[in-house]
């Protein structure tokens, strides 16, 4: 008896995973509000993002992929046909591994050592003037690259490899968490707008238009300027400003689905609004959402890098943008400081673009090859 009842409740939300997801979300919001109210700092702000990320990933990516194994294999086969997208995926997995394991193997990226400043990467040798303590004079000396600092050091003697590893962590955090946030808000806005229609649709879409009118980067700079930079806040700000494209796409897809026969049939059988949204509309737009998510990660990683490059990033973390900024100042003495983080940034963005292209072709049944 009780089992049947719980079945009905979860049915109203369109399946058990939605119920799990929303109760999890509610619990999370409750804890956050409690945290703000008590000023207790139960978790670091980033901790909440991770829990949210894990919740969404389990309910809407891992669980469906696990249940529909045949479909998973089909998507994988289609994605695999794109050799470049597999290459991109391999690089992203490598980057995730670096971000997770790397900090354990590399020295502290903030450790300053002026004796070792401006050491070039292995295989390069530069001439630089060094202050000789014995003669009290500046002497020109050859500085070869050493294996102690395989990618060299910057003007303060910080290890480049350690800084790049730390930057990989920051970029992935921002790229994944902020994208997830933006996509979540956008999808919710889009589906609501299309499903509710009428006055709501008008209001939500005009609000989307207003947000789209702001140049993305200028709005981001403006918000960070007002609220101050911290990594969690940057992620929040990107999430709260970057959802407009998704909202529009999801709205138009939902609108075209809304009048299809299977939705009509479900409605005439007396299905509730939530059930139609979560059981029939959402699953059908989810492939477009995944594609747009993958393709918006690079832009968001670049936005964070650009913010920290101009000095609006979180001052407590070493991100690629910060290193690049330092590199720009020492271009004539240590070229590698500017070159290395840029190459990492470029490869990461390229990898996500390749993967996104592959996934788009795999998920879009119209693009038969």
């Amino acid at each position: 008896m009780t089992e049947k009842k719980s079945g009905q409740i979860s049915d109203r939300f369109g399946g058990r995973r939605n119920l799990v997801f929303f109760s999890g979300l509610l619990a999370l919001v409750a804890v956050i509000l409690l945290d703000i109210y008590l000023e207790a700092q139960i978790l670091e702000p980033m901790g909440y993002f991770y829990i949210f990320f894990a919740l969404v990933a389990t309910c809407y990516a891992l669980y469906p992929l696990y249940v529909n194994r045949r479909l998973t294999r089909y998507y994988w086969e289609r994605t695999r046909r794109h050799r470049l997208s597999v290459l991109g995926l391999a690089f992203i997995i490598f980057l995730i591994a670096v971000a997770l394991i790397g900090p354990l193997l590399t020295p502290d990226p903030t450790k300053v050592n002026f004796d070792k400043k401006n050491t070039p990467p292995v295989g390069f040798t530069i001439q630089q003037s060094v202050f000789d303590t014995k003669t009290d004079q500046l002497v020109s000396r050859e500085t070869p690259g050493t294996w102690q600092h395989p990618l060299g050091t910057d003007e303060k003697g910080r290890d480049m490899l350690a800084m790049l590893v730390s930057g990989a962590r920051v970029s992935l955090q921002v790229g994944l968490l902020a994208t997830l946030m933006a996509i979540f808000i956008g999808a919710l806005m889009g589906v609501m707008s299309a499903y509710l229609g009428g006055w709501w649709d008008n209001a939500l879409m005009r609000f989307t238009d207003v947000m789209m009118t702001f140049p993305f980067f200028l709005l981001l700079v403006f918000i960070i300027f007002i609220f101050g930079p911290s990594l969690a806040f940057i992620i929040l700000a990107i999430g709260l400003t970057g959802w407009t494209g998704t909202a529009r796409l999801v709205r138009s897809e939902t609108l075209s689905l809304r009048t299809r026969e299977f939705v009509m049939a479900s409605k005439s059988l007396g299905a509730s609004g939530a059930r139609i949204i979560f059981r029939h509309l959402m699953p059908n737009v989810i492939s477009s959402i995944i594609v747009i998510a993958t393709l918006s990660i690079p832009g968001i990683i670049l936005a964070e890098a650009a913010l920290s490059f101009i000095g609006l990033g979180d001052p407590t973390v070493t991100s690629w943008g910060v290193v690049l900024n330092a590199g720009q100042r020492s271009l004539d003495t240590a070229w590698w400081v500017a070159v290395e983080p840029g190459i990492m940034l470029f490869l990461t963005v390229l990898a996500f673009n390749f993967l996104g292209d592959g996934i788009r072709d795999a998920f879009d049944p119209r693009s038969q090859q």
Binding site: D209, L218, I226, L312, L350, N353
Partner: protein, 325 residues
């Protein structure tokens, strides 16, 4: 009948534009008030006279700028002042914001205009060429190039260009020289690296759009007819295909403004020290000079709004197939 429909459409678009303008202004106001620092604090952080009682100074500032009024009156004043063109006072420059903008906008304008010309011309040319030679080595090369162009962070590209062409080769100055007359070859030369920095990403995007738009059009019946008529390929591509492919590309170029161009121009101006609006806003950020930051954000939004409006309206004139309802 048709004319009335068009006029109705334009009026409707103008009303939408007015609503969006109001929304944009309101959002900046709300953000300013919600922020952890009150406007008075931001003013205060710019004052060197700290001998007086801070509470008194804050009260004086609040009275001077109307911050002691009820919030709806402040909002009303904010909107009215913006509409009247009274955009506040820049502390860090000791100038009215309007004067500051009037002095500096032209640098951003020339950078953006030249970059758009550069990227649109080259991008469309390469895209059409690569569509005509599809699935050849040229096409693959162009595709690879556009992938690289889209993925390369433009601020890093700018730094690399400085490293190679200014530091190593010494062909260009790494810093923009403001003393040059606007219409001179020297000024154009000073803008070469910034334009490449800003234009490469855009160009790569346009290459892809132009390629796919051309491919779509090459399949159309009118192309077959044109070829069957015995027209030379040059005319078929140059006249029939290009003309149909170019409209959607122009829309994309216009809509790119908000996403890619302004953000890119902001960073490019900072890297090369071009005294445009991006650079002015950047300097104002670190001086907590918030009227400047607000105004430049609003100007960006307004330019986007007006170009979108203009594109929509011009489009209905250019393309008779568009329905407006």
């Amino acid at each position: 009948m048709k004319k009335a429909g068009l006029r109705g459409y334009i009026i409707k678009r103008l009303i939408y534009a007015a609503i969006i303008t109001w929304g944009v202004v309101t959002i900046t106001f709300v953000l300013l008030r919600v922020g952890p620092m009150s406007p008075a604090d931001k003013y205060l952080s710019n004052m060197s006279a700290r001998t007086q009682d801070p509470a008194q100074v804050v009260a004086a500032i609040e009275a001077r700028y109307g911050l002691d009024k009820p919030i709806y009156e402040q909002y009303f004043d904010y909107v009215v002042n913006l509409a009247r063109g009274d955009w506040g006072w820049s502390f860090s420059n000791s100038l009215p914001v309007v004067t500051l903008i009037r002095r500096h906008w032209v640098y951003s304008f020339q950078l953006i205009l030249l970059s758009m010309l550069f990227s649109a011309t080259l991008g469309i040319l390469i895209g059409v060429f690569s569509a005509v030679k599809r699935y050849t080595r040229t096409d693959y090369l162009a595709t690879l190039f556009s992938f690289i162009g889209i993925s390369i962070p433009n601020f890093w590209l700018g730094i690399m260009l400085i490293l190679i062409f200014s530091v190593q080769l010494g062909w260009f100055k790494s810093y923009y020289d403001t003393g040059l007359p606007m219409f001179s070859l020297a000024n154009l030369k000073a803008l070469v690296l910034p334009v490449i920095t800003l234009g490469t990403g855009m160009m790569a995007g346009y290459t892809r759009y132009a390629r796919s738009a051309t491919l779509d059009n090459l399949k159309q019946d009118f192309v077959r007819t044109a070829r069957a008529k015995g027209l030379p390929e040059r005319v078929v591509i140059g006249k029939h295909v290009l003309r149909n492919a170019i409209l959607p590309i122009i829309t994309i170029i216009m809509f790119d403004l908000s996403g890619i161009v302004f953000g890119g121009a902001y960073l490019t101006e900072i890297i090369f020290g071009i005294p445009g609006l991006g650079r002015v806003s950047f300097n104002a950020l670190f001086a907590s000079d918030y009227p400047v930051v607000v105004t430049i954000t609003l100007i960006g939004a307004m330019v986007v709004l007006l170009t979108n409006l203009a594109t929509d309206i011009v489009y209905t004139r250019l393309d008779p197939r568009i329905r407006y309802d």
